[in-house]
């Protein structure tokens, strides 16, 4: 049986609504016991409906339970008194009334003491249960918060990735591959240069991790005569997971180079530490 298809059919929504036949209800119930996915789905549908219906209640209804309780207690009392009324007796109650009253009083006292103990232990048990429930609720809530944060993170990542794709797909963007140089032949990088916004997106995935105390620096170069201008350093290289760095470039660059420099960057490129180079 395809559980996903079964869930998607919408039968569980009708199950919670109470609009299925007895036979169908029985079937759903059996499947719920067998498949936790189905049970979970039913609970979620029920929770949704509970919230929706509760929001449709425009006034406080807590007090109603008090009258409900009075009613059901009264019903109990009535059924008890009725059964007493049926028992008729011929004893002259008056003669015994004093004795009976004192016996009843003593029994009543004993009973009250017993009831009281019972109630105290029930009360303790209940407050224990309430405490357990409270802890459960708070763990559930912190789990929920944690999950929400995770989802938020994933959503932000997704949003960023989508933005990135749309930038890279822009037809006016100039792509410049940067090839590895003598010091690291395997290194490579790619530059996407958006001249209209004077922005550079540097994909530095192909660069090795910089050693401690060193940082990569991106240079804009013009040839003949060879001049260089720093576009900035690639800070926190290891913590940027997608290795895409956004930098400003208002220059009429003819080539780009990346060098390894001491932390904080240098004023001019250290050419024997040139990792990658590419011409526009």
């Amino acid at each position: 049986m395809d559980i996903k298809e079964y869930i998607d059919s919408g039968i569980l929504e009708l199950y919670v609504a109470g609009s299925l036949s007895d036979k169908e209800n029985q079937e759903v119930h059996e499947l719920m016991l067998k498949h936790s996915d189905i049970e979970r789905e039913v609970l979620k549908i029920e929770t949704t409906l509970l919230q929706l219906a509760a929001a449709s209640s425009p006034s406080e209804s807590k007090h109603v339970f008090k009258t409900v309780k009075e009613h059901i207690m009264l019903d109990n009392e009535n059924s008890k008194t009725n059964s007493y009324v049926n028992k008729k007796s011929k004893i002259n109650w008056f003669n015994y009334s004093g004795w009976i009253a004192s016996i009843l009083f003593a029994v009543g006292l004993l009973w009250l003491g017993y009831e009281n103990r019972q109630l105290t232990s029930e009360k303790n048990q209940l407050s224990n249960e309430i405490n357990q429930l409270k802890t459960k609720i708070s763990t559930n809530e912190s789990d929920k918060k944690f999950l929400e944060l995770e989802i938020e993170k994933v959503n932000t990542n997704l949003k960023e990735s989508k933005e990135l794709i749309s930038i890279l797909r822009d037809r006016h963007i100039i792509a410049v591959p940067l090839a590895g140089q003598a010091i690291s032949l395997n290194a490579y990088a790619k530059i996407y240069w958006d001249k209209s916004t004077k922005t550079i997106y540097l994909d530095a995935q192909g660069l090795p991790e910089p050693p401690e105390g060193k940082v990569y620096q991106l240079w804009s170069l013009t040839l003949e005569p060879l001049t260089s201008k720093s576009l900035g350093t690639l800070n926190d290289f290891d913590s940027v997971t997608n290795k895409i760095f956004t930098l400003k470039n208002a220059n009429a660059s003819q080539a780009f180079g990346i060098t390894l420099e001491p932390e904080g960057g240098s004023i001019t490129p250290t050419l024997d530490q040139l990792y990658t180079l590419g011409i526009v």
Binding site: L14, T47, A54, A55, S56, P58, S59, E60, S61
Partner: protein, 176 residues
């Protein structure tokens, strides 16, 4: 306490379990009743009757028949519908055909004072009218698929999936 244990205790006439169940479902049941009768006092009376009835007939419920909440829902809807059918209703005054749960939620002052209350107002206002109609009939009025399809002039085959899609939209918004 877990629901099956609560229900079992309730069936053994445990008033504490009964009160716990009331606290879980009372407000939602009240919402369903109010949506049908549109009168505060009448809704309170029916809510009371429903829970007294439920207590007296607790042995009628079993898990094989459906969810406990669904059992309450069915009894409550029937009680509320019986009530309005027994009364002579002035249609222009009540105008029950045009009103639905979404109107109550959107004008529910009570929600402004509650956590997440405002959220649900916004979510419901975002639901398409076709969703509100289906949810109103299936959950709040207790229509079956055939009745819903006739009432909304929609093919019976689409009711089930339409209802599921609408509920999914709500769940997405409510993060359930």
């Amino acid at each position: 306490m877990q629901l099956p244990i609560l229900v079992e205790k309730f069936q053994q006439k445990d008033t504490i379990a009964f009160e716990a169940l009331y606290n879980m479902y009372g407000k939602s049941i009240h919402g369903v009743i109010y949506n049908i009768v549109r009168d505060y006092a009448v809704a309170d009376d029916i809510l009371q009757d429903v829970f007294v009835k439920v207590w007296n007939n607790s042995s009628n419920y079993s898990t094989e028949k459906g969810r406990f909440f669904t059992w309450l829902l069915t009894i409550a809807r029937k009680a509320a519908l019986d009530k309005i059918h027994s009364k002579t209703i002035n249609p222009s005054e009540h105008n029950l055909n045009k009103q639905c749960f979404a109107d109550i939620i959107e004008t529910n002052e009570f929600l402004n004072t509650e956590n997440d209350g405002l959220d649900i107002k916004v979510f419901v206002s975002k639901l398409a009218n076709s969703c509100i109609d289906v949810i109103e009939l299936i959950y709040f009025k207790g229509y079956n698929q055939k009745e819903t399809s006739e009432s909304l002039d929609m093919p019976i085959s689409t009711i089930k999936t339409r209802n599921r899609n609408c509920m999914m939209q709500l769940r997405l918004m409510l993060n359930i």
